[in-house]
Amino acid sequence: MGSHAAVSVQGLVKRYGAMTAVDGISFEVEQGELFGFLGPNGAGKTTTVNILTGVSLPTSGSASIHGHDLAKDSFRAREMINVVPEVSNAYVEYTAWKNLMFTAALYGVPRGEAAHRAEELLRTFGLEDKRNTKVKGFSQGMRRKLVIAMALVNRPRVLFMDEPTTGLDVQSVITIREMIRDLHRQGVTIFLTTHNLAEANVLCERVAIVNRGKIIAVDTPENLKRAARRVQVLEVAFERLEARDEEGLSLIPGIREVAGKGDKLRLVTDELPAAISAVNRFAEERGLSIIHINTPGPSLEDVFVELTGIGGPAKGGGGR
């Protein structure tokens, strides 16, 4: 990929005093790729994105956007990107229209083109009737949509999105995910930072899992799941189940973890066939009726837990 990569990172290090936030990470994102950047809190995700977007400077290492080095030619690099930060940081004193026009001017979009683009984006995001309303009066979802619209006003070649759907209602989440897919179809490279493994699973072509400042895996979600062969999952639902039965399940040899998931139980095991037999025997012995049994395979969440060593399912999981 080399200089043709949309994002190229080589041996990036960021230290704050004695603390190393990013510890020599290297990876590349191809042009037009939808790339997920996953990791627990404090893993170094935001620090990495801050360096890639120019907010902070690395201690050592290099990074480039479409071949433009962020240390030597950050101006050109930043002309090619835009950012959707975790916090919806539109100017609350400005209307939706003024926010879009200001962002366009800041990125050097000519006024006529900016006005046309702003109209188009307001339509796309359903904010036409809020055009002349100050952002102060916007709901969380409307602010989020506006901030995403602001990030698209300069038609960036690389779009950095930090937790784009956090805190939104279901309808807004669906709209924004569909919009991300649309941008991807249009050839925009998307660098998606998220805690939401389900979101990464359904959107991303490749994901990097980062922990303690290091990248511990980069691959497609399916390859990562395949690689996590040791993690096998059995999903089972009983007609009725008491707490002591659930405790009994966790005592079956070979069952590593039992977690409730809606009306089902999710059993993590190392030996799937043996676990199925054991669960059937357990049900017979206790007179329980199995109404659903499934082997969905490891989710991205399971891979994440396996790789990062976090002791339980990650928040926002369920990424099958």
Partner: protein, 253 residues
């Protein structure tokens, strides 16, 4: 992290983006309560309280009032806006945009400069129209207003480089710096009437030189040469700006 080579095309882009930032700051922050309070109301009443017991025509006090207005208004915009922008996370918008740090800070400084110059014209016009203040050297007066606006706005930007999200913290530090600079200058007591030690102290304040230019412009006598006034105001402004850029850059490391 440098922005890369500065070609004429790039220079044009940087300048336009600095102007966009300045325009936005003027629109958003000029009417914010801290700006109005510390930029307009406070200097007026401060001047009034000192001048009220003083003998002599009001026209002679006008250059001092212009200088104080310029000082407080120019140095107010960046300290009122930047902590607020850090809190609202809008400050990171500039850092990710294609505009170099120095030009972005120039845009912010320009907003204070424009606001300060506009505010200072108000007492000047009142003085000329209502109290017979004479403009004997328009060039010196214009140089005083422009150099003062630039220098004081750079001071505001320097104080605003404090990495805090609380506007109150920045305003406290700003006033801690501004009030001594004001009282040690030759605004309330003419330099010629000061003892030697007080004159030496006054020479430290950039206000002294800006006020000297304004006095020259209104024919009320001056102490230093106009070129020295201009040189010192420019040197202070440049130093304030350079240190501000350095501090902002430091916070990115």
């Amino acid at each position: 992290m440098t922005g890369g080579a500065l070609s004429p095309e790039r220079l044009g882009k940087e300048l336009r983006r600095a102007l966009v930032i300045a325009q936005k700051d003027i629109r958003i922050y000029c009417l914010k309560p801290p700006v109005l309070l510390f930029g307009l109301v406070f200097p007026f009443f401060l001047f009034l309280s000192f001048y009220i017991g003083k003998k002599g025509p009001i026209s002679e006090g006008i250059p001092g009032l212009v200088c104080i207005s310029l000082f407080f208004a120019s140095s107010n915009i960046a300290p009122a806006g930047m902590p607020y922008e850090r809190m609202a996370k809008t400050f990171s918008r500039y850092l990710t945009a294609p505009v170099s740090l120095g030009w972005m800070i120039l845009g912010k400084t320009l907003a204070g400069f424009v606001f300060g110059v506009c505010v200072s014209l108000l007492p000047l016009l009142v003085g000329v129209a209502g109290y017979g203040t004479a403009v004997t050297s328009p060039a010196a007066l214009a140089l005083g207003v422009l150099a003062g606006g630039a220098c004081f706005s750079c001071l505001g930007t320097l104080v605003a480089s404090m990495p805090t999200e609380m506007p109150g913290n920045v305003m406290t530090v700003l006033n801690f710096v501004r009030l001594p600079l004001l009282f040690m200058s030759g605004i309330f007591v003419p330099l010629a009437d000061m003892p030697a030690w007080a004159r030496a102290v006054a020479a430290v304040s950039p206000l002294t030189y800006v006020n000297d230019l304004l006095l020259r412009g209104t024919g009320l006598g001056c102490y230093y040469g106009w070129w020295l006034d201009l040189l010192v105001a420019a040197a202070y402004g440049t130093a304030f700006f350079a240190v501000a850029v350095w501090v902002f850059n430091l916070s990115r490391k």
